[in-house]
């Protein structure tokens, strides 16, 4: 049992942390998210050059690590509120290729993800599906050796920046059946794909993605037709663990910012940090943070275990971290008082990102229900 990181993992952390510290200060981020593109392709290229986009892949796929490396990178992303699509492109699309891709598909796409030339978004959510990964109105009908996709995917994070999409679609069965779910790789430029792009409240970009008779070849299918729900659950759990790490990084900075502010801000002639009612709230924020770090480690460590163990621990982590994110975010705004309400301070941006993370890959209630199903009785 140990909670140490290898030298290589520490180097990953140092590298990403320096890059974000030096090139992703709050003003830079503000300009980036207000720009036309809304992200920094040149930073993405730099991340690729540093090998960061290869970090979660195995050596045979051209990488050098796994889930722990993804955790480290996302924690640092969270500290700087970096908006770049590491989770959709590297963790999600990368995950599908790692766990379900054929040799040819890995050959074709993993290199592109690692080099940054291909950017993926993960189109799985639907307007009426909420957090149920099998509730799909999008269909893929077999047509000779090809498939024809029709449907509408909701809030596809990073889609405006993507060259490719990973799409979940129903190849058979009823709308919520566990069987009949399949996964496809779709070139975003394919005929029949249209998007409506927009900004999100936490500084990212997303799209509604529409598929109208989009024809893809049989080679675009990842895994077995109609049998991919377990694969999707696994990849979404990996993404959930990664977003938990992002939350941990964001909470760390939120706590530090709040503590700092409580030292500077004076009322009644003294720093507000001298008031016990605020001290105890900050002590609680610290405890929430430490419990979240623990759960983030636990979820990451358990990702490669059997399905039930993985799901139970990932859900436990997302519940605990979702609750901590809400408490820390709200407490930070409250402690900052009126200044916390302004767009001027960074704390508001951290609060907004944490608030959206609460619902990403399943809310507290969703994961609580999954935890109960796996542990009660």
């Amino acid at each position: 049992m140990d909670f140490d990181f290898t030298d290589e993992q520490n180097m990953v952390r140092d590298g990403i942390s320096r890059l974000i510290r030096e090139q992703y200060d709050f003003d830079t981020r503000r300009n980036v998210i207000a720009s036309d593109s809304g992200w920094r392709p040149e930073l993405w290229a730099q991340l690729a050059e540093l090998g960061m986009l290869a970090a979660p892949f195995s050596e045979e796929d051209g990488g050098f690590g796994g889930a722990t490396e993804a955790m480290i990178i996302m924690e640092e992303f969270g500290k700087g509120l970096a908006v770049e699509p590491f989770i959709p492109s590297v963790v999600c699309a990368g995950g599908f290729l790692k766990h379900g891709g054929s040799a040819a598909q890995r050959e074709e796409y993993i290199g592109g993800i690692i080099s940054g030339e291909m950017v993926f978004a993960f189109a799985y959510a639907e307007p009426r599906g909420r957090y149920d990964l099998a509730n799909l109105e999008t269909t893929a009908k077999a047509d000779g050796g090809d498939y024809v996709l029709n449907g509408h995917k909701a809030v596809v994070i990073g889609a405006p920046w993507a060259t490719h999409l990973v799409v979940t679609a129903r190849t058979s069965g009823g709308q919520t059946d566990k069987d009949g779910v399949s996964v496809f790789i779709v070139d975003k430029a394919a005929q029949g794909v249209s998007t409506r792009d927009y900004a999100t409240v936490d500084g990212r970009r997303a799209s509604e993605v529409y598929f109208e008779n989009v024809k893809v070849s049989g080679d675009a299918l990842i895994g077995e037709a109609g049998n991919s729900l377990p694969l999707i659950e696994k990849v979404v759990d990996e993404a959930t663990a990664a977003v938990c790490a992002e939350a941990v990084g964001a909470m760390k900075v939120t706590n530090a910012t709040t503590l700092d502010y409580s030292r500077q801000r004076k009322q009644f002639g003294v720093p507000i940090g001298s008031f016990q009612v605020l001290q105890h709230r900050m002590a609680d924020m610290l405890m929430e943070y430490e419990q979240s770090v623990s759960m983030c480690y636990l979820a990451t460590i358990k990702l490669d275990e059997d399905d039930a163990t993985r799901k139970k621990n990932v859900s436990a982590a997302k519940v605990r971290i979702g609750q901590s994110a809400r408490f820390i975010g709200q407490s930070a705004i409250q402690t900052h008082g009126g200044m916390g309400m302004t767009d001027e301070l960074a704390v508001g941006s951290y609060f907004k990102r944490l608030s959206i993370i609460e619902g990403e890959f399943g809310s507290v209630d969703h994961h609580m229900r999954r935890h109960i199903a796996l542990t009660a009785g």
Binding site: M1, D2, F3, D4, F5, T68, L259, S262, R263, G273, S274, Q276, Q279, H280, M282, A283, D284, L286, M287, E290, Q291, S292, V293, S294, M295, Y297, L298, T300, I301, N313, A316, V319, R320, M368, R369, H371, I372, T375, A376, G377
Partner: protein, 398 residues
């Protein structure tokens, strides 16, 4: 980063499990109330462990410790929880013992450590006073030097199990003119049979007698019983409190408690289905289990730090707060789970040897008293509010 136990650790677990299976006195079960145990029951396992050399695992080996790593000590507590053992009382092994071997002189070590290890000497803690709770340093019990003795006068309270104690360790004021109240306190060992000591039981809200008032009137104690230097007692007292807090999280016991709660919730019925299938109650259990996982990993992180040479620091305050919150929630949910049968006072049940008309399920008998009793955990050992003060000062630096 991994949570795997090494082969050596797995072998260690097998060894201690076998020892517990073969040696634990079957009739002594920690699941009831401490009140139901005789003093002999409370010491039974301690004495067996004393003979085996396992009663004080955390002590340095030169004083009889086991040289177990923090991970091994964790495994030890898990295996004991698994069997619901009644562990050695903390007053000797976890509190005064470490003070004596750290700050005591050779005579004191030779006189007291063997009895603490073996379980032959029962210790109690004379810290709190009616006017000195969280503000412990304001204590008023005095020890006045008179030749080779101290004369102690004053009143202590909340003295746990003092009714059985052979010895006590007392914080006394030896300098009333010190510039700060913390600077005039001394740490003195007192034979509880000394004339002038009166122990009066305090009945608690759970109906039990666990704590006492201890009145000290002209109690003459040899000055040789002073630990370390006169007026430096606060340093030793704080050292003791930090020791007391490590291990206070009680993770292993709470894990067992969650299993027992689930068993209860599986036998209680709601709308014709087991209570555990009710989404409302199941949510509370899952929340508890999730919070307990977080606490467990946090404790393991602290242990890993300790193994790497970091002593127990202010993180132990976090473990105390979160650990006791979970212990309390567990008893809350148990009382909730048993429904109406939480109400009957089992102490009033006629003891006529007949079980023709049982009063509710056995597991319901202790639900309410245990819930009442466990409110103490967020008050003792430095209240949870005091722990937040410590976090504020030591970690946040405010």
């Amino acid at each position: 980063m991994n949570l795997e136990f090494t082969e050596e650790e797995k072998a260690f677990r097998a060894e201690v499990r076998e020892f517990i299976e073969n040696n634990y006195p079957q009739n002594v079960d920690a699941r009831g109330l401490r009140d139901d145990l005789s003093p002999e029951d409370m010491l039974a396992w301690h004495k067996i462990l004393g003979k085996k050399g396992w009663s004080v695992p955390a002590w340095p080996t030169e004083y009889g410790g086991t040289d177990w790593t923090p991970t091994q000590r964790y495994i030890w507590s898990e295996e004991n929880a698994r069997k619901n053992t009644v562990m050695p009382l903390p007053f000797g092994v976890a509190m005064v013992g470490p003070v004596i071997y750290t700050f005591g002189n050779e005579e004191q070590k030779a006189q007291h450590l063997p009895g603490i290890r073996s379980g032959d000497v029962w210790w109690c803690q004379g810290y709190s006073e009616p006017g000195a709770g969280s503000d412990l340093a304001s204590l008023k019990t005095t020890a006045v030097r008179d030749g080779d003795d101290y004369i102690i006068n004053g009143q202590k309270t909340w003295t746990t199990l003092a009714q059985h104690a052979d010895w006590g360790f007392f914080l006394c004021r030896t300098d009333s003119d010190a510039p700060k109240p913390q600077m005039g306190i001394s740490f003195i060992l007192v034979d509880m049979k000394t004339p002038g000591i009166e122990v009066r039981p305090i009945k608690l809200i759970d109906g039990g007698y666990e704590v006492n008032e201890v009145w000290l009137t002209d109690v003459r104690v040899p000055a040789a019983n002073l630990i370390g230097e006169e007026n430096k007692g606060w340093t030793y007292a704080k050292f003791l409190l930090a020791h007391e807090r490590s291990g206070i999280a009680g993770v292993a016991r709470s894990k067992r408690g969650v299993e027992q709660l689930k068993e209860i919730a599986a036998s209680e019925m709601l709308d014709g289905k087991p209570l555990i299938e009710d989404m409302g109650f199941a949510t509370k259990i899952s929340q508890l289990e999730i919070d307990l996982s977080a606490l467990e990993i946090t404790e393991l992180r602290t242990l890993a730090g300790e193994q790497a040479g970091k002593g127990p620091g202010p993180e132990s305050s976090l473990l105390k707060v979160k650990g006791t919150e979970i212990q309390q929630r567990l008893t809350e949910l148990t009382l909730e789970a048993v429904g109406y049968y939480g109400a009957p006072d089992f102490r009033s049940f006629p003891d006529d040897g007949s079980n023709d008309f049982p009063i509710g399920p056995d597991y319901a008998h202790h639900a309410a008293p245990t819930y009442f009793n466990m409110r103490k955990t967020s008050i003792y050992g430095g209240s949870n509010e005091i722990q937040r003060n410590i976090i504020t000062k030591m970690i946040l630096g405010l």
